[in-house]
Symmetry: C2
Subunit: 340 residues, 2 copies
Amino acid sequence: MQRYRMIVDAMGGDQAPRVVVEGSLLALREVRQRFDIVLVGRKEAVEEEIRSISGGPPPPGITIVDAPQVIEMNDAPTAALRAKKGSSIAVGLEMLKQGKGSAFVSAGNTGAVLAASTLILGKLPGVSRPTIGAFLPTETGVCLLVDAGANVDSKPRHLFEFAVMGSIYFAEMIGVKKPRVGLLSIGEESIKGDERTQQAHKLLTESNLNFIGNIEGRDILLGKSDVIVCDGFVGNVVLKFAESVLTVVKDRIKQVAFRNLFHKASLALAYGALRMAFRSFDYQEYGGVPLLGVKGVSVIGHGLSSPKAIKNMILKAEEAAEKKIPERIQSALAELLTSK
Amino acid sequence: MQRYRMIVDAMGGDQAPRVVVEGSLLALREVRQRFDIVLVGRKEAVEEEIRSISGGPPPPGITIVDAPQVIEMNDAPTAALRAKKGSSIAVGLEMLKQGKGSAFVSAGNTGAVLAASTLILGKLPGVSRPTIGAFLPTETGVCLLVDAGANVDSKPRHLFEFAVMGSIYFAEMIGVKKPRVGLLSIGEESIKGDERTQQAHKLLTESNLNFIGNIEGRDILLGKSDVIVCDGFVGNVVLKFAESVLTVVKDRIKQVAFRNLFHKASLALAYGALRMAFRSFDYQEYGGVPLLGVKGVSVIGHGLSSPKAIKNMILKAEEAAEKKIPERIQSALAELLTSK
């Protein structure tokens, strides 16, 4: 069996390197060192974190590669990439390109990871714009919203490519053979929506994807489709809105409870149910999502990732490498291009 | 004091005319006949509903104007308007135009009411595209999302006009002097977002509106801004998504509860809190919203409106007429145009 080597951006995320180191150690422990981890970042800082957590030197399975520079969360992506050639993001992706690892994982500056992955790894043939999907819980399981914010001002052709890449990713990772693809719009009929969506509807109808037509905002959480295709602007707005809902619901219940003693008594009970009910709304469970359409597995996570989320990201990255997602996307696109 | 006359589309909504008649009677009772109501629709059907509810002829304050045709909820708007000149929507709006009423209210085919209002009443000078806003509850009160789905493929200039119209509507209806205007985007910095949004950001920055910059999806429910400006495609997706959340949360809690007897016991308690917590998420409370930017008050409501929602729509329409929203928008736009 192939032994994977996961390249992890030790400096990515709001609480790096601590949280990243913790998550990496968790991942190694959970899989009993099925793979190695290369932590890329400021060597001394990373070693110190390991020492402060485990009380010793890096354990077996962990190696550290020094990258003297850090791209901060609020750096302008392309400018930062130009100015910081020795950043953990650039060094890590360069290693992946040279075959010194199986996948790259980062909870750092999303824009920078996206730009660097496209630049350093390169796009797969047939891909105009690499894309990021995001899993959302539904009444029946999960769905993949793609694009989740990587691309704005997408053209109809781009939406079509998002659908192809999203379908393959969903099929492989969730184990659904022909995922249902829905096009996010503002009405069910094909003539509803903006120009871009109407034209994408045509492209999807003519494709061999399992296209079920337009779906609306209210259908997302109902699980009407497995893959939901949209431009990254609307995708990102919806995702961030969804993330905020749990916070708001909790606050609102608290407000109501404080006004009424009887309700106050029920608060603890209601919370227990809510917590369980919302566990699957917790993006930390899903870890990061790979950038689809580049030559290699590059997984991007939330800047606020906990150690558990980092661990899950690394496991998802291993799975994506094992399932050869980039190769699968490449052959699917090649098939589509020759069959036309 | 001026006596208002509300023109109500008796045939609009999924359960028309029954629900509309019930709502109208509720409204009259609540305001002790402060205004008259003209029910426009199939005369016999409307009279029969009144008889079946009140056991007699139309009570004082209610008159019926016959409109033999009905535009169905799923008719194609412009085709239906052309084919059905005698529809309740066309007849009612024609009456408003001729000064035979103070406002028009319909829970019918949104696209048809929108098109007919623009066509029959006409646009206010300076308005490129009339718009519909929608109120959403926030942690601190309410916010107005504009455009809520009336306009797709909006240009930056249109977003700017939505902001002006939304500001005036929010200021007048909620009583906030200089409402905070936020531009919905996918990052806080002015360079974030798609082309349209970036250019609208410039127009809004140069304006005399209380523009607070970009806001993100997660800020909507937090009450970061009073007026939230966006294209109708993203506005509609977010609104419908928000509407679906309560249903999903309830189902999810139910699922959890069934798995666990202890949780089951807490279910009733949790529901009580949830119901109260979510009351302000109930669009029925807000009634309909006027189409902003046309010469007259034309209020559009949800096809699923209950009698209570119809009643609230009529009251909101009276308020909008009393506050002379169209005149206020016209003078604000004139000011903006001359000051440039």
